[in-house]
């Protein structure tokens, strides 16, 4: 076992270049398998300082912003299109196509003033009407936009999405060619963050009218972002060139951006080391230490607004009892999991909303989170014994997870932590589609899940467990008090009051423990040391318009 580990580590870290000098192939093969040297790697720098090569973690599935459903697509859409609001280098909202905005006192009406003389990349003028058209297209049932529910808080959106009202009922109006009004049914202090999201950028109605659904293919795609698509060879590379008609084209440093889709993280790391790519958006956490040794400060690990948790099916015994759920949550040693399995310094999670989500502040902590582990286990034992679960009686629980080594190891660790409480964890893995179909249909008792923020706002995490969240609320959690508090919170325009109400709601959620939060994810990047304009941020949003190379 130990030897296999060593050789595997060698295989992946492969110090084929021990001291910068090439070795003979046979020697390299041996060195790879039995490598003990992990010194710094001399990575060739890019000669063409106007062209960056970025890795995308998978093949882009669509360039139609309304059909985007994964981060992979959002990443390139953010370069090809720009919404009313954009994100700066740190992921904070800044003026995009809108130059200014105002909001009514009740927080329900927003007016955006567009920049003057905006054009699409084909020089067609871009007006407020284009935004009206785009937002209507987003909620039309025929578009079947995966992110249509983002605008559920806009006047008319839900009825249109259900096919009960025409798209014209959407609360979006062009007051004139440069002024856009958005009407909400409840205050949305995070509207600006939301408007920077890929699904809320404008789409070119003049191109869609001509080409229909095929408009977003190379050759016909027209955008309004800092870059335009020049070619796209599926599964090989996507080439973009600077959009000279972009309103801030003068501040865009790079002339060309290439995205290469690499779903194999190790392959991406190899290409980074060979100097073939400049930015890699993920790498295996188990390699973090070795990579830091080899690549130094080109390795970036930072917080990311995503929570890893397990869900209890609250409709099935024994997890219909909040005490049992809380006891099991209490007894999990999150620090140990982070230290020995994740190894990327994740923050432990005791609640759903990650720290620093919008204006939420620090993460919620139940009182027991600060107790010593022994005290937590004693309390857990007491709670379990009260319902007849003892080390002697043994309770068998099947844990469902989507196939992954990491998830399996986490489950094994937790199984061990629970064994002394009288709970035997049985592992059951399946592929992603089967796993989520089971969670969705309630065919599980304990399952693995995760939730990533679409935009930085606590409601984006908390609405998942509202009684009305059909299809998302895997634990089938129902607590009228939670629903009420959440409703009150999202109807509140005063931000401190709103956040206080959300915190109260989350306290109830964690007290009831339909979920077992384990840790918050981190973003893991490799960024070449001559790349400028890159800064880690919680949304993991890195627009190419900010990037450049040090001379």
């Amino acid at each position: 076992m130990a030897i296999w580990r060593v050789s595997l580590a060698g295989l992946f870290t492969g110090s084929a270049l021990c001291n910068g000098k090439p070795m003979r192939p046979l020697l390299i093969c041996f060195a790879i398998f039995f490598s003990g040297c992990g010194g710094p790697i001399d990575r060739p720098a890019r000669e063409d300082k106007t062209h960056i090569v970025r890795v995308n973690d998978d093949e882009v599935r669509t360039l139609d912003p309304h059909k985007v459903s994964i981060v992979t697509d959002g990443r390139v859409v953010g370069d090809l299109f720009q919404g009313l609001i954009d994100l700066d280098v740190s992921g904070r909202p800044i003026p995009g196509q809108a130059q200014s905005w105002s909001v009514s006192d009740d927080g329900l009406t927003w007016v955006f003033i567009l920049r003057p003389d905006l054009v699409w990349s084909d020089a067609t003028p871009l007006s407020a009407e284009d935004f009206v058209y785009s937002f209507r297209r987003l909620v039309l049932p025929a578009t079947a936009a995966p992110y249509a529910n983002l605008v559920n808080g806009w006047v008319g959106a839900r009825a249109i999405l259900k096919g009960e009202a025409p798209a014209e009922r959407l609360g979006v109006t062009a007051l004139d060619s440069q002024t856009l009004e958005i009407q909400l049914i409840r205050p949305e202090p995070a509207l600006l963050n939301m408007l920077a999201y890929a699904a809320l950028v404008p789409v070119p109605r003049h191109v869609i009218a001509k080409h229909g659904d095929a408009w977003s293919r190379p050759g016909t795609l027209i955008g309004n972002g800092a870059y335009t698509l020049s070619s796209w060879r599926r599964q090989a590379s996507m080439e973009m060139v600077k959009n000279r008609r972009f309103h801030a084209a003068d501040s865009v440093a790079l002339d060309r951006v290439t995205y290469v889709p690499i779903s194999d993280e190790m392959a991406a790391v190899r290409q980074f080391r060979a100097g073939e790519v400049d930015i890699v958006p993920d790498f295996p956490g188990t390699m973090a230490a070795v990579l830091e040794q080899q690549l130094g400060d080109q390795v970036h690990i930072g917080p990311y607004l995503t929570t890893f948790y397990w869900v209890f099916n609250t409709t099935k015994p024994p997890f219909d009892s909040p005490a049992v759920r809380r006891a099991l949550s209490m007894s999990v040693d999150r620090e140990a999991i982070i230290k020995s399995i994740m190894r990327t310094g994740n923050a432990p999670a005791y609640a759903m909303v990650p720290p620093d989500t919008g204006s939420y502040g620090p993460a919620h902590l139940p009182d027991w989170a600060s107790w010593p582990l022994e005290a937590r286990r004693t309390e857990a034992k007491r709670l379990l014994e009260a319902v007849g679960i003892t080390p002697a009686s043994r309770l068998e629980v099947v844990h469902r997870y989507n196939t992954s080594d990491t998830y399996q190891r986490i489950a094994l660790a937790i199984g061990q932590m629970w064994a002394e409480l009288g709970v035997d964890l049985v592992l059951f893995n399946s592929e992603t589609a089967v796993h989520y179909a089971a969670l969705r249909s309630g065919d599980y008792v304990l399952g693995r899940a995760g939730w990533a923020a679409d935009y930085a706002a606590p409601e984006n995490f908390l609405f998942v467990f509202a009684s009305a969240s059909k299809g998302l609320n895997y634990p089938r959690y129902r607590n009228p008090r939670y629903d009420e508090l959440l409703d009150a919170a999202v109807s509140e325009s005063d931000v401190p009051t709103r956040m206080a109400l959300m915190r109260q709601a989350e306290a109830i959620l964690i007290e009831d423990s339909p979920i077992l939060p384990i840790f918050y994810y981190v973003s893991k990047y490799l960024v070449a040391d001559d790349v400028t304009g890159w800064s880690p941020n919680v949304l993991s949003a890195h627009r190419s318009r900010w990037l450049g190379f040090a001379p």
Binding site: L11, G14, A16, L17, P22, M23, P25, I28, C29, E59, R61, T62, L63, D64, K67, S69, I70, P141, A142, A144, A145, P146, Y147, A148, N149, L161, K162, D213, A214, W215, S216, R233, R234, Q235, A236, S237, V260, P261, I262, D264, A267, R270, Q271, R273, A274, E276, N402, E431, T432, A433, V434, H435, Y436, A437, R440, W451, A452, K470, G471, L472
Partner: protein, 306 residues
């Protein structure tokens, strides 16, 4: 000859129909659908998506719809790549898969034959044992081990070839070599076995008795006979190599269709998987036919009956 060809091609139609039907219903029986992903969707959004892809219709209606499309050459829209048609995706991906696969099969054939002949002509000696050990190694080492090793050694280490990617001839070197290794190993073993089995055949003894030169015996008399198992093996395996290898395509980033098969199946991209199944099945049918024709040419015994 033409009669054989026509009847075989005619038989291909019910075969394809059976394959399409089986694959279609097996995909639908599997739990989980194309919209059960890591990213959960609200019920309304999911309903709209299902309607857009006609998944709200009964399965037999979907099947009829799909068959009607296939007959007209339309494999439907991809569930996963939302603005692409499956036909379009396959059209784009088939070229690279065929190029890498074709080169790999050719290389495997040349390497395998060379190794096999060398081993057979040195039967029992050190060269034979070494060659066969090499072939066993080539068969035993899976491509997900060989491919990253090649990339590390020749890409990151020696910087002779690009680590991965697509576009120039240099990009082909490592994937083609990695892909050819297990096939070359099989061919080497089959060739060696074939030659050794044929060496003792009566017609070879006759040739020897007539004082034909050993080289001529090998090339003119033994090889056409000995190569038959290789040809039988090459048919179906060529179909497999040409439609792309998911491991090689992923590691070396080849824009082929091999990845679509696995990714499509995992993501329940029904139409994409069906499209690849159809291409794969068609290739197997064609290659098996080719193999039979070549075997007929090689074996004098089958010629008169054909």
């Amino acid at each position: 000859m033409i009669g054989v060809l026509a009847s075989r091609l005619l038989w291909a139609i019910p075969t394809m129909l059976a394959i399409i039907t089986l694959a279609f219903f097996m995909m639908r029986i599997a739990p989980g659908g194309p919209f059960d992903g890591e990213r959960a969707m609200t019920a309304e959004v999911k309903a709209n998506l299902e309607r857009a892809y006609k998944l709200d219709k009964p399965v037999y209606v979907q099947y009829g719809h799909y068959l009607a499309g296939v007959v007209q050459g339309d494999f439907g829209p991809s569930f996963q790549y939302r603005d692409q048609s499956v036909s379009g995706l396959i059209r784009q991906g088939l070229g690279p898969s065929l190029l890498v696969g074709g080169l790999a099969v050719s290389l495997a054939f040349v390497m395998g034959m060379a190794l096999g002949i060398t081993a057979a002509t040195h039967q029992g000696g050190v060269v034979d044992r070494l060659t066969m050990a090499l072939a066993s190694l080539g068969l035993a080492l899976p491509s997900f081990v060989i491919a990253p090793l090649l990339a590390l050694a020749f890409g990151v280490g020696l910087r002779l070839f690009p680590v991965a990617g697509w576009g120039t001839a240099a990009h082909l070197a490592l994937p083609v070599f990695a892909l050819s290794i297990p096939y070359a190993a099989s061919i080497a073993r089959l060739t060696r076995g074939g030659i050794l089995a044929t060496t003792s055949a009566p017609f070879v003894r006759t040739a020897r008795a007539k004082n034909v030169s050993p080289a001529r015996i090998l090339w003119r008399h033994i090889l056409p006979q000995a190569i038959m198992p290789v040809v039988s093996y090459l048919g179906p395996s060529a179909a497999g190599v040409l439609t792309g290898s998911v491991v090689i395509e992923t590691i070396f980033q080849i824009p082929g269709i091999g990845r679509y098969f696995v990714q499509g199946a995992l993501n329940r991209d029904f139409t994409l998987v069906m499209g690849v199944v159809i291409v794969y099945a068609a290739m197997i049918i064609v290659f098996n036919l080719l193999v039979d024709l070549v075997l007929q040419r090689l074996d004098p015994r089958t010629r008169s009956t054909a």
